[in-house]
């Protein structure tokens, strides 16, 4: 399924500046015209888009839990498409608290850092500190290496429903189109299909909210859970919330009315991993 992946790197040979003229001894890139560049980009994009109009799993949201879930799925040869509303992946994973680029995880989440090859320190027993950019870029790289396809600047708008209101895909549009008032843009969205959708949209729980809006799902109110018992209710309650729909990461908090927490990245990573496990089990019975 990844056979079509082509890596095309064409960099246009711009007009030479004074400085560049001095560097004539440097290796030169092949020259390519504008049209070739455009064709290369559009062909490659079209191939992916066509192929992924139907996938096994659509992951909505490219923060730590969504990336982790996608990576785990792709590693298990699941055809997975990750859609992200921003032009960058990683969500809040680049930064820790107070805009400091250090993030902390607790045992056993360091095992995921080990897996990703992220270096960390252990200032206290069972408390691990890593650098945000290092951890985030490794996670993104690892997801890409595993074969996750990514559509960024792509906004989830609605669910695609199958028989018995089973979730079977997503209606998407470009983020800039989605952000503009309806009067200005009238660009219709498109639908993409999948066997499962994972809501990894953080506190907004966009997919779950859409289901609620449509009257297909009713979730708990705020304060519906007893939080003292477990340090990790987010991981515990990462699961199918509706046929075809899995909820992971901070979206779990919203869905089950858990209080908002600080940047507990360990939980996000573990939750993503669990979401993938649930998805794999579901796909086997699909």
């Amino acid at each position: 399924m990844r056979a079509f992946r082509k890596i095309i790197i064409i960099i246009k040979n711009h007009e030479k500046t004074e400085k560049q003229k001095n560097c004539d001894k440097m290796p030169k890139f092949e020259s390519a015209g504008e049209k070739q560049i455009t064709r290369a980009i559009s062909e490659s994009f079209r191939d992916v888009f066509e192929e992924y109009a139907e996938s096994d799993v659509i992951v909505v949201g490219g923060g730590p839990s969504g990336l982790m879930a996608s990576r785990e799925l792709a590693k298990n040869d699941v055809k997975v498409l990750l859609i992200e509303a921003n032009n960058y992946l990683g969500g809040g994973f680049w930064l820790g608290g107070y805009l400091m680029n250090k993030l902390t995880v607790r045992d056993p989440a360091q095992s995921i850092l080990d897996e990703l090859g992220v270096p960390y320190e252990e200032p206290e027993d069972n408390l691990y500190v890593a650098t945000g950019p290092h951890a985030c870029s490794k996670l993104i790289g690892s997801a890409c290496d595993a074969g996750v396809e990514i559509l960024n600047m792509t906004k989830f708008q609605d669910v695609v429903l199958r028989r018995d209101n089973r979730v079977g895909g997503a209606v998407i549009n470009w983020t800039p189109v989605d952000a503009l008032p309806r009067e200005i843009t009238c660009v219709d969205p498109v639908g993409i299909e999948s066997k499962l959708v994972i809501d990894a949209t953080g506190h907004d729980a966009e997919v779950v909210s859409k289901m609620e809006e449509r009257g297909l799902l009713e979730t708990s109110g705020y304060g519906g859970m007893w939080v003292e018992k477990s340090e990790d209710l987010v991981v515990e309650h990462t699961d199918l919330i509706h046929p075809g729909l899995i909820v992971t990461g901070m979206a779990v908090s919203t869905t089950f009315g858990l209080p908002r927490m600080g940047p507990t990245f360990g939980s996000m990573l573990m939750s993503g991993k669990k979401a993938a496990e649930v998805a794999i089990e579901e796909l086997e019975n699909f």
């Binding site: 009713e218 859970m225 007893w226 018992k229 340090e231 309650h237 009315g257 507990t264």
Partner: protein
């Protein structure tokens, strides 16, 4: 009914291995001479064909909003799925969900057979589920026990219902990354935690309270050192259920009388 025919059954909870039902059984017999037996988890009674029905009923008994009385709702797919797993594996720890105790009581009653529902039978269901009742202050309060039919004793309630020292919650809020153990070390004041053997010892008092309730004896005691004291704080719980002596003089006497009645 002849009191001597009374049979007390403790339905074990495989999800709380630290709650030793055999020890509870020995304790009740030794202390009161009431004929006591233990049985498998009540969840084992759920007929395979009825797993979905009971999953739904358990999901319906959950508290979705602590400040709103559960007057019935349609549980979602995820909630039913959660309960199904708990029924299929009764040793699974139930995390983070609070249940309306009175709704649970009705479900457990359905799982008793006719003989077990008879008057000379006194059933105690041990559970890992956290139970609560809706109070006059319009919110749910977690509880250790519900003295109904059957009686419900919650091991999670033992840890969660009596409040921990105030300092604990303050520290917990200010540093979400610290574990309970670390905060416990820094906090003055003891509390009973998951996995501790003291859970069994503390639960004995709640069993006796249930028996007294059944025998229609007023069961809360003013004496804070007595097993019949209604503890609201962990420190009080430890004082009443763990520390010596076990009973105040009045209850010591009453227990003696009961023992005499059942052993004669």
């Amino acid at each position: 009914m002849n009191l001597k025919d009374l049979e007390l059954t403790i339905y074990r909870d495989p999800a709380t291995p630290e709650l030793d039902e055999q020890e509870l059984c020995r304790y009740v017999e030794g202390t009161t001479s009431i004929n006591t037996i233990t049985k498998e988890s009540i969840l084992e009674r759920v007929d395979e064909a009825k797993v979905d029905v009971f999953s739904k009923r358990f999901a319906e008994s959950r508290v979705r909003d602590i400040e709103e009385k559960n007057e019935g709702f349609e549980p979602n797919f995820g909630e039913k799925r959660f309960e199904k797993r708990l029924i299929e594996d009764s040793s699974k720890d139930v995390k983070g969900v609070l249940y309306d105790a009175k709704k649970l009581e009705k479900i457990y009653l359905l799982l008793l057979n006719e003989q077990e529902r008879s008057k000379n039978h006194l059933p105690f269901v041990l559970t890992n589920r956290l139970i609560g009742t809706f109070g006059e202050d319009n919110r749910y309060h977690a509880r250790v026990s519900l003295y109904g039919f059957p009686m419900i004793l919650s091991s999670t309630g033992l840890v969660e219902a009596p409040a921990k020292p105030k300092q604990f919650y303050r520290k917990k809020r200010s540093n979400s990354l610290k574990t309970k153990e670390e905060i416990k070390e820094e906090t003055e004041g003891d509390f009973i935690d998951y996995g501790e053997n003291r859970i069994t010892k503390a639960m004995k008092g709640y069993l006796l309270q249930g028996i007294f309730h059944y025998l229609s004896k007023g069961f809360f005691c003013e004496n804070n050192g007595c097993r019949f004291y209604n503890a609201h704080w962990q420190q009080e719980l430890i004082n009443a259920q763990i520390n010596k002596p076990e009973f105040c003089n009045k209850h010591k006497k009453e227990i003696k009388e009961i023992k005499k009645r059942f052993s004669d």
